[in-house]
């Protein structure tokens, strides 16, 4: 195989109503390591899944050595030597490493039977040939993460794959394991194979890849030789130029007043998958201030959200609310003490799909709507009708939530959490994700008016537009630690923030202090 060309690929997912790929393209050649890089949701994984035969393309073409091909299953792609190593490894517990490697194409004993020893020997032979060194007899459950990945790669090599696609391969590896992986990849490249790496880590792209293609919003925006492009240029390409929204007046909170929310040297060990944690976060958020915390997914935002929601406890350090202990998970006084929380997962945590709008609305404030344990249907109806009117939600109190569009569900959640009286603390997580322009503007207005009314607002988001429009102060997280804290003024640009989010550049701190922060 000399070349693979994907051209003008479109892919639409009806279940989420989004175009994962829109006129995406890619050119691969033999004997190269090709990185595909982009933000979350840029469409890189979908495009590669199409190449690996796991998804079908809606339109566009896939040519191998200039001959058009179409895959109906991963088996078709495998026949042509294309295989994918997934982000979460598919090792089969109860079998050994060797058995996993040859699974599905085991060597036969006496023509029909399968023998464990012969399978493991075949795997060992493959390992010798490709220069790996895992014990084929080792049980799958006992393999380290790095070893598991090697098993996945070996699965493909055993079937003589010429094109190996790796999805975020370094996200779960230690430094040594990453170097080990890179030397394997270089060896495979020397044999003439093609390696495709899906990643968002710009530094690694420069280290290992020969060519890099950048994707954004479902399309390919550029392809470069990695030796000819800088890290900053790559991250700029990934993040894109923002539409200038116009600055809104920034608030200045008064010094000397007790901050509403305070993070004191907060650390969290073993977050999701043991990789992302939080390290030594110290921040204060005062009344009438919007603190925007941004990061690329997997760098600590969701852990922070779970901490603020009361679902996780910090391993060390503390969270303080109004100077005292942070209230436990939705304890009855949560609403009365004034914390509003808009979760990032609106369908699982933010609402109950199988229930009506009215039921969702009253679910968190049952004391008010069930006086003496009996439903006050009138009050529920009135309250939800008021909220619907106030937030322009296109629904009736009796509609079921899963009939609503994403935007209206979010409005319903905003209405529930942010209605009068304004909460002392608002925790907003990706509040305008997936919303159309009008709903987004509406939400921005609401959030800003809350700030006017004196709420302290913590905004957790990976959407730079959102952060730059709303925040007074911006905090950037990278690998769970604070990489930058700055006032949101004219100096702040998407490129700057993008670079910090990717871990490039020096750690930035505020040049002037606001309200006792920057501890």
């Amino acid at each position: 195989m000399k070349s693979i060309v994907l051209e003008n690929i479109d892919k639409f997912f009806p279940s989420s109503g989004t175009w994962a790929n829109r006129k995406a393209s890619l050119r691969l050649s033999a004997g190269e390591i090709h990185a595909v890089i982009g933000e979350n949701g840029a469409g890189k994984t979908t495009l590669m899944r199409i190449l690996a035969g796991l998804e079908t393309l809606d339109s566009g073409s896939l040519r191998i050595d200039s001959l058009p091909v179409s895959f109906r299953s991963p088996a078709d792609a495998m026949k042509l030597g294309i295989g994918m190593v997934h982000q979460h490894f598919l090792t089969i517990p109860g079998f050994s490493a060797g058995e996993n490697i040859v699974f599905g194409e085991e060597p036969r004993v006496c023509g029909f039977f399968v023998g464990r020893k012969s399978s493991e020997e075949a795997a060992a032979a493959a390992m010798r040939r490709f220069g790996f060194s895992i014990d084929p007899v080792k049980a799958a459950e006992l393999l380290t993460v790095g070893e598991r990945q090697q098993v996945e790669i070996l699965k493909l090599l055993y079937r003589d794959c010429e094109v190996l696609i790796l999805d975020e391969p370094t996200s779960v590896l230690t430094e040594q394991e990453i170097q080990s992986l890179f030397s394997i990849l270089r060896r495979l490249k020397a044999e003439g194979r093609t390696i495709v790496i899906i990643t968002h880590k710009v530094k690694e792209v420069k280290e290992i890849a020969d060519v890099v293609s950048v994707m954004r919003e479902g399309a390919t925006v550029g392809s470069f030789k990695t030796s000819e492009v800088s890290e900053f240029a790559l991250s700029a390409s990934m993040m894109g130029k923002a539409v200038f929204r116009g600055h809104r007046p920034r608030a200045l909170s008064l010094p000397g007043i007790e901050p509403v929310l305070k993070f004191e040297a907060l650390s969290l060990r073993s977050g999701h998958r043991g990789a992302a944690r939080l390290e030594n976060i110290s921040l204060s958020v005062g009344a009438g201030e919007i603190c925007g915390i941004c990061a690329i997914s997997g760098n600590g935002l969701s852990e922070l959200e779970d901490l603020l929601a009361g679902m996780l406890k910090p391993s060390s350090g503390a969270l303080r609310f109004l100077g005292g202990t942070y209230p436990r998970l939705r304890s009855a006084p949560w609403k009365s003490r004034g914390i509003g929380y808009v979760p990032s997962d609106r369908m699982k945590r933010g609402s109950c799909a199988g229930k009506t709008v009215a039921e969702n609305f009253i679910a968190l404030d049952r004391a008010t709507f069930f006086p003496k344990g009996i439903l006050d249907a009138e009050a529920a109806k009135t309250a939800s009708a008021d909220a619907i009117r106030e937030f322009s939600i296109k629904a009736n109190p009796g509609n079921y939530v899963d009939e609503l569009s994403g935007g209206n569900v979010q409005k319903m959640i905003l209405a529930r959490e942010l209605s009068d009286p304004p909460p002392r603390l608002c925790i907003l997580c990706e509040p305008t994700w997936g919303l159309d322009a009008a709903s987004t503007e509406f939400a921005y207005d609401r959030i800003l008016s809350l700030r006017e009314k004196g709420s302290a607002i913590v905004l957790l988001s990976s959407d730079l537009d959102e952060i730059m429009t709303l925040a007074d102060r911006i905090v950037v997280l990278h690998k769970g630690a604070v990489k930058g804290v700055m006032a949101n003024d004219q100096d702040v640009t998407r490129e700057k923030l993008g670079a910090l989010m990717l871990g490039l550049g020096a750690t930035q701190t505020l040049t002037r202090s606001i309200g006792g922060s920057n501890d």
Binding site: S15, W334, C352
Partner: protein, 347 residues
């Protein structure tokens, strides 16, 4: 939700159609007189007051126990211990009624029913507690506990509590004065039917109008959201299981006071499973339990009338019940076009 509702509606229709079709098929296979047996199965149960009244009488435990099943299902718990809970409840009620003096009759009835509910409730709570504390699957533990209870009650009825004056394996009968009044002679229909209707209405009110019902349903619908809303999910495992058991126990006592007056070995056998079938057909809606129970009793009545009028055994209703169980939890019916997967979606 609308999509899901429509799917479930189709599954329900398909199930009922399959149930009726299999009843017909069984009659065709096993009866020498197809037309006559068809008449006996489908028409006779409604034809005279004896059969019709008995049909309504057999709805009583199905509605009450069915409500118990519905409460458990709504909170995402499976109470499969109905058989034991009903049987134990019946025994508890009979014992209390035998120990108390005959009058006032209402007092005896109330105390006996309370004892029955307590007995069933404890058995249900046992499974609920096992799930809450040890994470033991309540589906299996309630089934196993119930099987044990059934054997225990069998032993009591044929051993220590056996009525010495009777040739049958049964306890002594409760005093006739304490039994429920009959309302539709010559059938065995009693005021128990009114109790069942009131229970069904009360169930609807609790489920839809109280905070308890709201929280219970929320736990069943989206556990994470409920947990996040501050609802203790352990509480809504234990309480629904206990409530479910109590309702089953109550059903047992209603059977005693309404029709049987004594605990005969195995008299309530199969009612627990039927109540599950009824609740599945009613989709856990307390008011829909009434027509669902009517449908089910109709099938059962038909089977009994066929048995009495011809040589087909009444166990054909078990086969029909099996067909209902087999299909009612299906979430796709491949031979119905409306279920074809959408283009581009993933299955």
């Amino acid at each position: 939700m609308i999509e899901q509702e429509r799917k479930r509606g189709k599954v329900l229709i398909a199930t009922i159609a399959a149930a009726i079709a299999s009843a017909c098929l069984l009659i065709l296979l096993f009866s020498k007189d197809f037309a006559g047996s068809l008449y006996l199965f489908f028409i006779a149960p409604l034809a005279n007051s004896y059969y019709l009244g008995n049909l309504m009488a057999s709805m009583v435990p199905l509605i009450v126990a069915g409500l118990g099943v519905a409460f458990a299902f709504e909170s995402r718990n499976f109470n499969l211990g109905g058989e034991g809970q009903i049987y134990a409840g019946a025994l508890a009620a009979t014992l209390v009624a035998l120990l108390l003096p005959e009058s006032p009759a209402l007092g005896v009835q109330l105390l006996s029913c309370a004892a029955a509910a307590a007995a069933g409730g404890l058995i249900g709570a046992f499974s609920g507690m096992l799930k809450r504390r040890l994470g033991v699957d309540e589906l299996i533990s309630s089934f196993l506990a119930s099987s044990l209870i059934v054997l225990l009650v069998d032993y009591m009825v044929t051993g220590p509590l056996q009525d010495p004056a009777s040739n049958f394996q049964t306890t002594r009968a409760i005093a006739p004065a304490t039994a429920f009044a009959k309302i539709f002679l010559p059938s065995s229909l009693s005021i128990g039917i009114f109790v069942a209707l009131i229970v069904s209405l009360a169930g609807k009110a609790v489920m839809d109008k109280t905070r308890f019902g709201f929280e219970l349903k929320l736990c069943g619908a989206n556990g994470e959201f409920a947990h996040y809303a501050g609802i203790d999910s352990g509480r809504y495992t234990l309480i629904p299981m206990a409530l479910s058991g109590a309702l089953h126990g109550l059903a047992g006592s209603l059977m005693i006071f309404g029709s049987y007056y004594r605990v005969m070995r195995g008299f309530s056998s199969g009612i627990g499973w039927s109540a599950i079938a009824v609740s599945l057909i009613a989709k856990n809606n307390p008011l829909a339990l009434i027509p669902a129970a009517a449908f089910y009793s109709y099938l059962d009545s038909g089977a009994k009338s066929v048995m009495m009028g011809s040589d087909v055994s009444s166990e054909i209703v078990a086969i029909v019940q099996a067909v209902i169980f087999l299909l009612i939890t299906a979430s796709r019916l491949p031979f119905i076009k409306a279920f074809a997967p959408k283009k581009g979606g993933s299955e």
